[in-house]
Amino acid sequence: MAIQIISVDDGFGTITEHIIIDRGNGEFTSMPKAIYDEQQAQAEHFTPIVTSDE
């Protein structure tokens, strides 16, 4: 899996950084870098909802 960051101009003067994830099997996912960073932060700090079979 390879990740690259690109800057995209929306044509109205706003430039946004996007993440392109190349999953290595011909599949790609893109999203704004800010969203990606937020998801990564969440993934690393998931609330331990179920910790055992209790």
């Binding site: 929306d10 109205f12 893109s30 999203m31 969203i35 993934a43 690393e44 909802i49 179920v50 209790e54």
Partner: protein
């Protein structure tokens, strides 16, 4: 008093009789009374007097036919051609008119659309594919269902399976791959938007689901939970102030069983989610999995018959596409996705009307084997991002050399597996 008496004609002694033949006169009087009352004799416990004709004193003792037929709690007093009993229905069923039954009434399960808050609880919609390898530690699987594994471990597969459960066709199988040695727990969850959650705050709710395990299942009880938080539109794994509203510990067998729990949701809840989890043990064998379907969250203290949140299959698909949709090309290698225009250089724009208005402006693009072309000669795409999208349309910007102000088609790049997904998930 008249003599004889006015109603029964009983002859009473007269003043002359008192000095002539009093005993005989009383005998006449008494016999008259006795004859008149003879119809009141007889009968037995529970019987009542019934007129046999319009003639005076024409009575007979009869057993009343209008006794209650009710025998059991919840019975209803109904009528066929005679009084009849209608036994109470099953939990959660409602009474409907049905002229084909002897009483004209019938209990049946509720199939009201919208009673279930869980979108895709029947595991009908799998826009991302029906078998998904857990190559990342967290990912969406069946629509609205997100899976992740503790410690960000991979090594699982999520797949669609035939359920055999009434009112569902499929179940979701959450499987630890054979040979996987990690004992990190596996989780499956789904989250409601805040605007879909707040109505349940302070309400008595019932959470129900069907589940079973594979023959080599290594986990303990499967925990199914309703969780709540006090934030706004967060994914359940990141709820502010997360707490458990309902917890159901399901001891699984290799056959589907229905499990349920009821509780009052905290009045402060502003977001609600659903979570399943188990912790495997040892090394996974071939059938180390759980299957889940028929997930329902509804008002009241009874689990009623499962029904899709969207009512129909099409309604359920539309509900899912509020969060994500994926366009496929089917069996065509050059299937069409969108019209666009070149900007010159290496930037082209493509516009798509979303199939339903999405939850919010979409931010995610998922794609595979896409390219653009005018009349021939496809330019492959490896970059495709949202530019000025909105909840009702996706406006995408791609890479690839092009000619300015030229119309292009966004199409499959010689591949029947090409797809384009647009995401606005929580």
């Amino acid at each position: 008093m008249a003599n004889p008496t006015t109603n029964f004609g009983w002859v009473m002694p007269t003043s002359a009789d008192l000095v002539t033949d009093l005993p005989a006169d009383f005998a006449v009087f008494g016999q008259g009374v006795d004859t008149s009352m003879q119809y009141l004799l007889g009968g037995t416990t529970g019987q009542v007097l019934s007129k046999t004709s319009g003639t005076n004193m024409a009575f007979t003792w009869t057993t009343p036919t209008d006794q209650t037929p009710l025998t059991t709690k919840g019975d209803l007093f109904t009528f066929t051609t005679v009084d009849a009993r209608l036994a109470v229905g099953n939990n959660g069923e409602t009474l409907v008119a049905d002229s084909s039954t002897s009483t004209g009434l019938r209990y049946q399960g509720s199939q009201a659309g919208g009673k279930n808050a869980v979108i895709n609880g029947g595991m009908d919609i799998w826009q991302r594919g029906t078998s998904i390898a857990m190559t990342a530690a967290e990912l969406f699987t069946a629509d609205r269902w997100f899976v992740y594994r503790g410690g960000l471990v991979t090594g699982g597969t999520i797949s669609r399976q035939t359920s055999g459960v009434n009112f569902t066709r499929y179940g979701l199988r959450l499987q630890r791959d054979s040979g996987n040695t990690s004992t990190q727990p596996l989780y499956l969850n789904s989250t409601l938007e805040t605007q879909d959650s707040i109505g349940y705050a302070g309400q008595t709710m019932t959470f129900s689901f069907y589940a079973k395990a594979g023959a080599n299942y290594s986990g303990g009880a499967l925990l199914g939970r309703v969780l709540y938080g006090t934030g706004t539109d967060q994914r359940v794994t990141s709820f502010t102030g997360i707490a458990v509203a309902i917890s159901v510990s399901a001891t699984l067998t290799t056959s589907y069983q229905r499990f349920q729990g009821t509780a009052t949701v905290n009045a402060a809840a502003t977001e609600i989610g659903f979570d399943f989890g188990y912790t495997p043990t040892g090394t996974a064998s071939t059938n180390d999995w759980v299957e889940i379907t028929g997930v329902q969250f509804e008002l009241g203290s009874i689990a009623t018959t499962f029904q899709r949140a969207g009512g129909t299959l099409q309604g359920e698909l539309a509900a899912c596409q509020r969060y994500y949709y994926r366009n496929l090309v089917g069996s065509t290698n050059y299937g069409f996705f969108a019209w666009g225009i070149g900007q010159g250089g290496t930037s082209a724009l493509f516009a798509i009307a979303n199939p339903v208005t999405m939850r919010t402006t979409p931010t995610v693009v998922e794609f595979s084997n896409l390219g653009f072309a005018q009349t021939g000669g496809i330019t492959a795409i490896t970059t495709l991002v949202h530019s000025n999208s909105s909840p009702s349309s996706a406006f995408l910007q791609s890479d690839g050399s092009n000619t300015a102000n030229t119309i292009y088609r966004l199409i499959g790049n010689n591949s029947a597996s090409a797809y384009l997904g647009i995401g606005a998930e929580l």
